[in-house]
């Protein structure tokens, strides 16, 4: 399936202004994180999603509240788009008990039962088999839910990716594979990672339908994801979508970026999903300069509040260290 062909504009009832706002929230949130990292409030690994926001926002926009997401260590965007409050996410990165994993997870391990966000998984491809199981549970219990698992193109070299693809396809479970192809796995370009670089074609080996879309275009992502999710909900089995995207920042805070040209980064930055979408909405008459300004202000305010919330939180007490290694007896 090619997203451009099969589908028209956004579905009825969709508020694309929200999509712009979501992308902006993620952007500003992460920019703040960089600052806070320099200041020492956030530690550990911090993987930024800046440049890739259209993928998370376009994907999450097409999921229902009962659907599940299994993300990677580069998952801030999913947590925010999914509705985990930004303060709660920030508190997690501050190691506070108000965080969505009570400070145990940090940036790489955001979890939220309410929105069915199953991580924040930092073993590359390690979440995919689990996602098969979540989808299987829905299938076996006759629930019309879907599960969406996200991974980078680098993950496709791992055996777990293939085992999950094969199981999902064999069992026809409602699982959406969203590949964020940002061209690099840390410093390794996709051509050194995968013998077959036509990623959607890989799905063919499992007889799984697939699409490849412009991951810098939130509309394109949403069109493809919506079609896939609808098909899955009526029992069509799994679906694979490659989103061609790019990370504007370093892999993590420990990356000298020796492996790519500044010019390449600059070129991709011209395709920044946020200004592009903003202009589109403006040209469609859905957004004015002033409503954009308001949006920026609202988001800035939200981020300020998030930081305040995180700062005001309680460090998860050391006395709680051994809690949750095992479940607690039911009361």
């Amino acid at each position: 399936m090619n997203a451009g062909k099969n589908a028209g504009g956004p579905a009825a009832g969709v508020n694309r202004l929200d999509w712009l706002r979501e992308m902006l929230r993620i952007r500003r949130f992460e920019e703040k994180c960089v600052e806070l990292y320099s200041g020492g409030s956030i530690r550990g690994f911090l993987h930024l999603y800046i440049g890739e926001e259209a993928v998370a926002v376009g994907t999450v926009a097409c999921l229902g509240p009962e659907d599940a997401i299994v993300g990677t260590y580069r998952e801030h965007g999913y947590a925010l788009a999914r509705g985990v409050p930004s303060g709660v996410v920030m508190a997690e990165m501050f190691g506070k008990r108000e965080g969505c994993a009570r400070g145990r997870g940090g940036s790489m391990h955001l979890f939220d039962a309410r929105t069915r966000l199953y991580g924040g998984n930092a073993i590359v491809a390690g979440g995919l088999p689990m996602a098969v199981g979540l989808a299987l549970a829905d299938q076996m219990q006759n629930r019309a839910r879907v599960t969406c698992c996200v991974f980078g193109e680098g993950a496709m070299a791992e055996g777990d990716f293939h085992e999950a693809m094969n199981l999902a396809a064999l069992w026809k479970v409602p699982l959406l594979f969203v590949c964020e192809n940002n061209l690099y796995a840390m410093g390794t370009p996709v051509a050194l990672e995968l013998a077959g670089t036509d990623l959607a074609k890989q799905a063919g080996a499992y007889q799984m339908p697939a699409a490849s879309v412009d991951g810098m275009d939130v509309d394109a992502v949403a069109v493809a994801v919506r079609a896939a999710v609808e098909a899955m909900r009526s029992g069509a089995g799994p679906f694979f979508i490659e989103c061609r995207t790019y990370r504007f920042r370093a892999h993590s805070m420990f990356d000298a970026e020796l492996y790519r040209e500044k010019a390449e980064v600059a070129l991709w930055k011209k395709r920044d999903p946020i200004p592009a979408f903003r202009e589109r909405l403006q040209s469609e008459g859905l957004l004015t300069e002033s409503s954009w300004g308001e949006m920026e202000a609202q988001v800035a305010e939200e981020i300020r509040e998030a930081v305040k919330f995180a700062e005001a939180g309680t460090p998860e007490p050391v006395s709680e260290l051994t809690r949750f290694v095992y479940s607690e007896p039911c009361p």
Binding site: G105, F111, I123, G126, M130, V132, M140, E163, F324, S327
Partner: protein, 329 residues
């Protein structure tokens, strides 16, 4: 399989425990390689496909990491999967899923995501299956926080631990020693606790702490030793994580001499942990150092004479006990 009507085999006990669980709870299903059409590589699940169909007796492709991970996900999604890995040797392919996901998710998510997963696997040597099919790694798994590690040795536990494991909200690994499947015992369908050791024979001169297939070797050795007026207590550990520390210290307090028998490798095995706990909690109760009789530290070989020499046996247990009782008696 020469069971009387009031008896059955360990294999049957496991099968009937699975059957009862499947009948009792629609969330339960069994999945693994060849559990269905083939009937299970050790014939444990034979006949279940016919009763429950291919959704609930789910043959998986060969992909240990994939289907263990799928089990974790299914557990998160509200099911109660029983995942069968043919043998512990193949479980190494799924170790990332077991340690980095199953054992970790609850803590890492701040208490949000429970993983009520049961993984069963065959373990152990003694059938000349050589170095990629014979190892006893259950004690090694006991290193991992977040897991519970069960080693049913008796037919009663083979049946009863599964039910309790399925009711547990956390991941539980059940290790079935390959040599026990044909063992016959009373047909009992009661749930059994998944914590706590059990004294299988009372004695006063020395305590053997053991589990799994070695329990029976230890009991046979105790019988032989009784004829020589050496009174040996035999404790079935039953559960390797969490260890029943009270039972360990009680043994030391009672007999003051301890021999651990373990078919896993010695260095860093469960025998080491038991010895270290006794060091910690029962040092002043011990008349002589805790001794360990374990598998030789070699990849288990095929040839019968080599494999027998590599594993603890009744003879070597008897000799070890005599050595301890006479030297320090």
């Amino acid at each position: 399989m020469s069971a009387t009507p009031s008896e059955w085999t360990y294999r049957e006990a496991v099968r009937e425990a699975i059957r009862a669980a499947l009948r009792g709870d629609p969330r339960v299903f069994l999945m693994g390689e060849d559990v269905g059409r083939y009937g299970g590589c050790f014939a444990v699940s034979r006949g279940l496909l016919e009763e429950f169909g291919p959704e609930r007796i789910r043959d998986t492709p060969l992909c240990e990491s994939g289907f263990v991970g799928a089990g974790i996900g299914a557990a998160l999604g509200g099911m109660r999967p029983i995942v069968e890995i043919m043998t512990v040797n193949f479980s190494l392919l799924a170790l990332d899923q077991i340690l980095n996901n199953a054992a970790t998710l609850l803590h890492m998510s701040g208490g949000q995501f429970h993983v009520p997963l049961v993984v069963r696997m065959a373990t152990g040597g003694g059938k000349q299956l050589a170095a990629q099919h014979s190892h006893s790694l259950e004690g090694w798994y006991a290193h991992i926080p977040g897991l519970k590690v069960l080693t049913p040795a008796t037919v009663a536990d083979a049946y009863g631990m599964l039910e309790t494991a399925l009711a547990d909200p956390d991941p539980v690994l059940i290790f079935e020693n390959q040599t026990l499947y044909n063992r016959v015992g009373p047909r009992e369908c009661a749930p059994q606790p998944i914590f706590g050791a059990k004294i299988q024979r009372q004695g006063t001169d020395l305590s053997i702490l053991t589990y799994g297939a070695s329990l029976w070797k230890a009991l046979a050795a105790a019988e032989v030793l009784a004829e020589e007026r050496i009174s040996v207590e035999v404790v079935d550990l039953r559960v390797l994580r969490p260890l029943d520390e009270e039972a360990l210290t009680a043994a030391a307090a009672k007999t003051h001499r301890i021999l651990i028998v373990d078919e896993g490798w010695r260095s860093g095995g469960i025998s080491a942990e038991i010895s270290a706990r006794l060091m910690d909690r029962a040092f002043f109760d011990l008349d002589s150092p805790v001794a360990r009789l374990c598998a030789a530290e070699v990849p288990l070989p095929y040839a019968k004479q080599l494999e027998e020499a590599a594993l603890p046996g009744v003879d070597t247990i008897v000799a070890a006990v005599k050595g301890m009782v006479h030297h320090h008696g």
